[in-house]
Symmetry: C2
């Protein structure tokens, strides 16, 4: 046992309230609702559709075990020593090759999940009060981290084909200060599940280029299509004015915390310096495990399996909603991603619905958390990838009961 050289007693602190004086940043960083919900889901009997959790029975654990074994035997101590800030060069080359035709490993920076990519890009771009554009609704983890940098949020409504182009044009023409970037999730968005049509992709890339506003494209769900691939990415359309963010959290395993940024080389240089100051580098071993798996022939099989499984789960979820709610909940069957974005009648406040659901052992995320500015309060984000079919059946039934009870 470790025994410190304890030669004097502890000092007693009398008034500590003034000792720790946090920055304004601390005050303005909201706790993320989903992370808070993750804490209650361990309550006995609770069924959760709250987190964006992949189905962990699909994690290729045996393969990862074999890769670990082989890699450690081959590369040994290198996997455990300090390494380069930019990250595993073979994995960067693989990412460039697969997702960014014409780009190279030099344009990729590996991060600790896509959340760190969002933080890093916030540091790079945002000054206090900088205007930034983002979709309404948008990913709550992005809203959370952006908030800590105190920008001025400008929300653009996101509909079934993409953002409202008229609104976007109006904002670009009439902002007194040029927005720092447009943050968007064009593929099976979290939370709405909407995607951009090809036409919108073309128009939006052109419009933002003309206005000198860079795009931050978050591609987290792009691989999770059920039948048809999505149209070309914004980054491929306009690689010089688009920064792309990606992650292996949804396609492989989130616990490994491996994500990336693709940016023009000139910008990437500065991003690497920021990353260096943030945590020196992300763990080498985790990048090696990801590389070992994605570069093997098993990755395509694995993606097919995930797509099929999530499609089946989404269809089952859809059927459960149809069976319980009938026409009272307008819902289209999902084409990809992880979520249903439930739209209740205007008079239903899902913040209240959510509280009632928790009491009945059911968790999902109230829509208000996904809006900058004045929130809409009649949505609920429902994850379909994690729960079992049995749990889904029971969960939707519980939701319908709660819905009925507050409707009265």
């Amino acid at each position: 046992m470790y025994k410190p050289n304890k030669k004097m007693g502890k000092l007693i602190i009398e008034n500590r309230s003034e000792i720790f004086r946090p920055s304004a940043r601390t005050e303005r960083t909201p706790a993320s609702v989903t992370r808070d919900i993750l804490k209650v889901i361990d309550t006995p009997g609770m069924i959760s559709f709250a987190g964006g959790l992949p189905d962990d029975s699909l994690f290729p654990i045996e393969d990862l075990k074999n890769i670990f074994e082989t890699s450690v035997s081959k590369k040994g101590s290198k996997l455990f020593q300090y390494s380069d800030t930019q990250g595993h060069s073979d994995l960067r080359a693989w990412i460039a090759d697969r997702y960014y035709p014409g780009s190279s490993a030099d344009e990729i920076l590996l991060t600790s999940g896509s959340q760190q990519a969002l933080d890093l890009l916030s540091r790079y771009f945002i000054e206090e009060d900088s205007p930034i554009l983002l979709e309404r609704p948008s990913y709550l983890g992005a809203i959370q981290v952006f908030s800590s940098y105190a920008p001025t949020f400008i929300g653009i409504n996101y509909g079934e084909e993409g953002p409202d182009m008229e609104e976007l044009k109006y904002v670009l023409t009439n902002s007194s200060e040029k927005p720092k970037f447009f943050y968007c999730i064009p593929d099976f968005q979290n939370p709405s599940s909407y995607s951009y049509s090809l036409e919108i992709r073309n128009s939006i890339s052109k419009l933002l280029l003309e206005n000198g506003v860079p795009i931050l494209e978050d591609t987290a769900y792009r691989e999770l299509y059920f039948k048809e691939e999505l149209p070309i990415s914004l980054c491929e359309l306009g690689p010089e004015h688009t920064i792309s963010i990606g992650t292996f959290s949804k396609t492989l395993a989130p616990g490994l915390r491996v994500g990336w940024i693709r940016a023009p080389k000139k910008i990437l240089k500065d991003l690497i310096i920021q990353k260096q100051s943030m945590d020196l580098h992300s763990p080498t071993l985790n990048q090696e495990l990801v590389y070992g798996f994605v570069s093997s022939s098993k990755y395509e099989e694995h993606l097919s399996l995930i797509r099929k499984t999530y499609q089946r789960k989404s269809e089952h979820t859809f059927n459960c909603f149809q069976n319980n709610f009938g026409d009272s909940l307008p819902l289209q069957i999902s084409k990809g991603g992880l979520f249903y974005w439930l739209e209740f009648p205007q008079e239903i406040n899902t913040d209240l619905l959510f509280q009632k659901c928790l009491e009945k052992g059911l968790a999902a995320v109230p829509g208000s958390s996904f809006f900058v500015g004045k929130p809409e309060r009649n949505h609920l984000r429902w994850n379909f990838s994690n729960a079992s079919e049995e749990e889904t059946k029971l969960g939707v039934k519980r939701l319908f009961e709660v819905y009925k009870s507050i409707q009265k």
Copy 2:
């Protein structure tokens, strides 16, 4: 192969200079010298004493392999799923128990190395122009990350027994604004290798408490004593006004990126929210590997081995310096840590010495990088833990030759 739905050509960007408009933060984050040096050390023939790299032949790779095997078999997919922001609860309990008598797992937050801990605490505390206290010299990775938050640095000279208490008292009495914290490395400091005496520890803890200024104590090198343990930590002396930072990078393996913060519970709550916004959580698997090893009976043996090896290497390094430089370089034999802090005569500028060294295939870190305010320019930081004895012999000889050549 992945084939995107490429239905239109790329947009051509004509004037991209105005598109990316980085924040002032980007401008003020300096690239870290050591990380830049890490890039040149792969040049053929280069011998490096620059990084704070542990001896990677000591990494307990076989044990980590076994732990991986056992843990994955036992815990399965949980190790690869999203998990709690605060981190592995058993590892937190182990850290509290070993290093913070009277504290519990609730007061520990796991981070991606201690660099992330420094970033997180910067976010928590620093506003633009906030005065912060730190030692002169201090750890350059801390200076780098603090700089990106634009504080006002107040340096306190660090001598062989600890910081200059008169200077510290003077600053505390005469600052117009109360400093946000005092950042210090009381144990085998990077770069100076100095430690605080027990007397200084007592006085400094008391003085800062009286002045209502919290302490950020960085304990990275605390376990690396060769014979005698260091006196009680500042955190144990004053747990309510001290935040402690630790890491497994020096005692186990830096590539795993596992570090921690110990803070009073009230503060920790807000730190967890910041961490959540930064990267959701650090990788579960890495924390499990660390826990598996440190909680086993092998950890004490391993620490003994590291201490003995580094002591031998430090003695060998010391002898090489004696044999080459004789009395022209004042040097005391090391008692712990990873570095010798070489002090040359005032007329030697180690920034120039460093450049000449690189030309001769030798890397170490010029002292100027470790100073806030006006730098001292006659030191060189020399790592002794990583190079082999043969390399050290050759390296010191090269240094002496370069030194002689610029002295003329």
